[in-house]
Structure formats: structure tokens, C-alpha cells
Symmetry: C2
Subunit: 198 residues, 2 copies
């Protein structure tokens, strides 16, 4: 016990955050103790309030403060086009393009037999229900390009194609500004396979 | 506005922490939203309580929940020996050795004319008062070995030596387990100058 108890408790709690080791937790704790009290109180309050007000949208399972979420409520978004993503942050990434006008479905993970994550651990049953009820014409599978992301995409294609839904996958290829020289072989192969006529 | 307001607020507040960029703030926010509510509440509470209960020790200016702090209250610690450090975390680092039995004085910074930090911005007047009142025999200057740390050490030596106090400086040299090959010239020079008979 090198610290007074309230400091130790704060360091312990900060150290539970992902990517925050003991040294960083200590640095953050001292920062919080040194800044004006109202600043620290504002952070404490933001944490408590976010946790209290934010829930999952009962339709797309994105985070929201009002259910259904702003995107699901928006009559200008195409209800027949649904993009399937792994995490809420992927919705934000896609929204930044300002181009996508469909809706979303957040799986909250990928299939991972190694870690015992099967379809029931994700929001896949909920997606089946949406497909059955909402008249969805196209599912754009936008899971990541990891092994698990690709496997999940394949699983979803096999599940939904027999239901008469068009299932597409976002393109994999070299990133904008990317150099062939610095691109791995798997990406280059995908870029070649996905080539389009100019 | 890609996020519901409570999430944006949380990301903004987390982003004010040192070393936490927008991406990390987003990742932490999502982590806090996904973990059980009582976990997040515990962090919020730890922040609020630490900020409320922790103050500076009126003697040594270390963080404490009871004034004077546990070290200044401890009758087994030598009151005639005071180690001067930059920050509260330096006290913790030194206490880990379990060998030092004197007391401390936390400056809360180093002199830095470039940044306009003069003696009055640090707890140097308070140290003068302690030297005058507490019968301190030796001040061990344990500021860091940066330019500012060394300058502060020199300043303190010049200030307190005329008052009849022995002023010492912690040794600078190669770290334990250190390799000469990987040690910079300035450190090697200090290690040579500080050589001791075996």
C-alpha cells in the first residue's frame, strides 16, 4: 500500500480499462487529481450518464439513447438495404462517408469457434427476424477482413441466400493511397480478383 | 454528430486525458458501455471520491487523504532527513525500495524559465519554512536528471547550503542491469565521475 486508499482504488479502476497498464493508470490518476475538481467531476458524470442513458437499439443493436435509434427512425434511409457490421464503431466509420443511405445491423462480434462464439452469441437470430419481417432486399456484409470476419460473412451468405435475399460483401483491395509494394499478398490477390472494368 | 449525445460527451471527456487520442477515447467509451453497469459506476465513483478525499499534505505536499500524510505522521521516520522530489509518483518509486527512512518534500515540478516556472510556482518557499522550523540536517535532492531537474538541484543547493543544511544529490550512473554499450555519453561521464572505491 504505497498510496492512500482513494488513490489506490482509482488506479485499480483505471487499470481495468483496455490497453491501460499500471503505469498509465497511475499517470491518469495523478492527472485527475491535479486538474480542477470540476473537470474530474465532469468525467465521472459523463461515464455514469452514458452508462445509464445508452442502450442497444432494439432493431439494429447499435448504441442509442432513444429506441429505435436515429438511423432506424429516419424515413429517408432505405429500409430494404441493410449493412451488417461487427461493432457500433463500424457504423460510425461508415457514416463518415456520408454516402451510405441504407440501415445497419450490428452483430456485436464475429463467429469464432476457437473462442466458443457461435451464432447465438451474436445478433444473428435477430437479423433473421428482421429479414423475415422487414422485406430486406440486400444485406451488405461489412464484417472485417480477418479470418473470423470472412468466416462470418460466408456463414451469413449461406444462411440468407436461401431466404431469397441478395447478400453482398464489401470489396477488399488495396487502400486508397496504398502502395502495391507495401501491400500483403492476400490483399493483392483480393484486389486482383475484385478488379473492375474502367 | 455521429454518436448519441451521452456517448459523444463521454468520448470528449475521455479525450481530455493525457495520452488519450480520439481513437483511444472511442475505444474506452465503447468498453465502458459494454461492460456491466456496476463496473462503469465503480470507475465513475472512484474518480469522484479520489478527487473529493485527496488533498496535499500541508507539510510535504504529497497526496494524502489525511493531513498530515502517513509518512509525515510516522514517528519512525527520521525528521532530520528530507528527500526533495518533483512529483508524488517519485515518492511512491522511492518507497518501493523499502530502504529510505527519512521524509519527503514534493516540489510539484521543476524550475523551467522557458515555461515561466520560477521558484514561487513550486513548493520551495514551503521547503524554506520547513528547514527553518524542523531542524532538517540533510536535504537529498532527488529531482530527475533532465536539464530542468539538474538546474533545480543546483538552485536548491545554492539556496540551502548557506542556511547550514547539508545538501546531497542522488547518484547518476548506469542503471542496474545496464550495458555500457547502450548507455549515453552523459550518463557514462556521470558514472565515471561518481565512481567509488570497492
Amino acid at each position: 500500500m504505497w498510496y492512500p486508499e482513494p488513490i489506490q482504488l482509482l488506479i485499480d479502476q483505471l487499470g481495468r480499462l483496455p490497453g491501460i497498464g499500471p503505469k498509465t493508470a497511475q499517470r491518469l490518476a495523478f492527472f485527475l487529481l491535479k486538474q480542477p475538481p470540476e473537470e474530474s467531476r465532469r468525467l465521472a458524470q459523463a461515464i455514469a450518464e452514458a452508462r445509464e442513458k445508452i442502450r442497444y437499439c432494439s432493431t439494429c443493436f447499435n448504441f442509442t439513447d432513444i429506441d429505435p435509434c436515429a438511423i432506424c427512425r429516419n424515413p429517408n434511409r432505405d429500409p430494404h438495404l441493410v449493412m451488417v457490421v461487427e461493432q457500433p464503431k463500424d457504423v460510425v466509420a461508415m457514416e463518415r462517408t456520408r454516402e451510405y443511405k441504407g440501415r445497419y445491423h450490428v452483430l456485436h462480434g464475429t463467429l469464432s469457434p476457437m473462442e466458443g462464439i457461435g451464432p447465438d452469441a451474436l445478433k444473428i437470430r435477430e437479423l433473421e427476424a428482421r429479414v423475415a419481417q422487414e422485406g430486406i432486399a440486400e444485406l451488405v456484409i461489412a464484417t472485417g477482413s480477418s479470418l473470423e470476419g470472412e468466416a462470418t460473412a460466408l456463414y451469413l451468405a449461406r444462411l440468407f441466400q436461401p431466404m431469397g435475399v441478395k447478400v453482398t460483401r464489401i470489396a477488399r483491395g488495396i487502400p486508397m493511397g496504398g502502395d502495391l509494394d507495401y501491400t500483403d499478398e492476400a490483399t493483392l490477390l483480393k484486389a486482383f480478383e475484385g478488379r473492375q472494368e474502367l
